[in-house]
Subunit: 270 residues, 3 copies
């Protein structure tokens, strides 16, 4: 099956199966993550207590780990849930928010990667550079990196870690270590709303809940958010801005058809 | 006074008294819960630290306990706040989110019910079945149960626990053990937005803050959300979806009049 | 430079420099705080773990401490982050949410003030009265105080604590102990949405990230929110309410120009 057909089929599967996506995530954008999973047709569950995460992940089709506001309690829960997910064959999707900004984030991301071997890692260029052992310019949890070299870095790191690496930015890059593709949907206003990165990871997680082809799943998640961002931005009228944009972003994901996703996705293979 | 008149009177009381509703709730939908209480005319306060919950509940007109993202720290706070509420005659409203999904949730809900004897329990059919000791089909924190038998189950459990049981679903059921009524407002899009169940519980809590007639309070809270959902959904135009719906849901609660609530509520006694 | 020119210049600086604003804040309104900082042109980061706060604040241009849902873990993080901020010359902005409602809140606010000597404290009249050692009428985390005496209290407390005191209410008052000014923007609907106080503090923090003139920064932050509230409210059509208002509030901050801010701000010196 061709890539666009696979993406189309995957969105149909999401709407048909409504996969349960277990999140251990930050308290800043958790509501957005739950709503975006619902909007595309999935079923989110947020549970982070050590006493229940292993049990909860047993019902899940994917596990999303996001270190946006990590702390000692949730780091342990991430490890326990992640190990259980691996034992059950549930894919683990990691969003290493702000890795490189503090030692705690860097050490935690490295530990999660080492012990859990996530199926997909989704970050911005600065975050992925840190994971690749390269120097990166970081400001809080936002990326300052240029995006040249991104496909080389994505491919190399994906190969080293035997996972899918997805780098989002002006142009997004996804690689599984052998294939690389560039995605050109999106709009810069997405960077003016908190949580659009986290939500992209949650969408990737949702697609990973219906297919073992995590490379296609990552692409589908990223172009879903990019396309929805374009549609939402194009709908803005004079005087409207990020508040209205945000509501329309959920509208656009909710109304996204498999045909639009496959047709309008700007995908090019390297 | 007839039921519809009582509902009308209760909404007037909420707007007049602005009851303080103390919540110990989950971090996914907490902002929505605070905003829905404000929208209907109440005054929300969210406080969960063991050091302050007993003191805070002393100012409150109702205590809402929601186990959506429970953990060891907040479970203890719920017990302490709940016991203080009972001692003060402040009604306790329990939302047993996801009970049955994990042992932690089931044990916690059962413990809260046993030790606090909540005045109202609001859940979906799967959750209430678990509390009633019946088998239920559960997926994460969402219900998969059919809704037949719901009035029998509601009435039986309400009688056993000497409280009001409110089961929300396609048709909602409320019982205090002797009376049972069915509510038919709402729209299925409500299930596509996270937190609509939690918000319903917060609305029930707000009504419980102005009357000792918790049966009527539960009905008033549930039909407020159902009606607001209908109005918000009917306002959607082409291309709009869950994002716009969610904003309009708060608009509709904010603009809900006592007359509309009493007139448009689809209430039938069994 | 005249006050209005300084405000205009400060908003230009925010948009040019995009200062990183480190928050340790509550889980109720944290998403709103992040989005409001982004909307005005700043860069928010939320991090509260003891292991990383001192490191994170090293990258920040301001530190916002908000005790809305404080607990033992975050209180310690606030102290550690605050002491590091002071050592580095990073301004500390305190929002003493609900101080006076419980001993925990009062003790924590007093400790943070004593140990950190914040550059700006932003609260409602009840909260500031408590900090000034006066009696106040409090209901949960909302103010019931009248606003007569507010400039006297603001000036006296600012002088005692050698900081800027900002009291928001129908008329806002800002004082640095010698200067006092009254601000008359805003709309009462702002009180019907949770987090508008917290967001105001985050905007004040954002302005403190680009100037050492914290008196002007506090004024700029408060009139930004007041003006945005007016614009958002004026845009509402029949049937719209707090949900739509909230989206438009972010729109209005996003589209706020330095010229509008300087021209439409209703500022009067005492």
């Amino acid at each position: 099956m061709e890539l666009r057909e696979k993406i189309l089929a995957n969105l149909n599967l999401v709407k048909e199966k409504s996969p349960l996506i277990h999140h251990i995530t930050n308290y800043v954008t958790v509501n957005d993550c739950a709503n975006i999973v619902l909007a595309i047709g999935g079923s989110p569950v947020m549970a982070d207590d050590l006493e229940e995460v292993a049990e909860m992940v047993g019902f899940a089709s994917a596990l999303v780990l996001n270190i946006g506001t990590l702390n000692a309690r949730t780091i342990e829960s991430m490890l326990v849930a992640g190990l259980r997910a691996k034992a059950l064959g549930v894919p683990v999707i990691l969003d290493p928010v702000g890795v490189g900004a503090t030692k705690l984030r860097t050490n935690t991301a490295e530990k999660l990667i080492r012990e859990l071997k996530p199926e997909v890692i989704r970050g911005n260029m600065s975050e992925v550079k840190i994971l690749a052992g390269l120097e990166a310019a970081i400001k809080g949890v936002d990326s300052l990196a240029d995006e040249q070299d991104s496909s080389i870095i994505a491919k190399k790191l994906a190969s080293e870690l035997s996972c899918v690496i997805a780098i989002t930015g002006k142009t997004d890059v996804v690689s599984d270590g052998s294939q690389v593709c560039l995605l050109d949907n999106g709009h810069r206003i997405l960077a003016d709303v908190t949580g659009t990165g986290c939500m992209t990871t949650s969408l990737v997680g949702t697609f990973c809940g219906v297919t073992k082809d995590y490379y296609t799943a990552a692409i589908a998640g990223i172009i879903s958010m990019g396309l929805a961002g374009e549609i939402a931005q194009a709908s803005l009228r004079h005087g409207e801005g990020v508040g209205t944009f945000r509501a329309r972003l959920f509208d656009s994901i909710y109304n996204l058809t498999p045909e639009t996703l496959a047709r309008e996705g700007k995908i090019s293979n390297e």
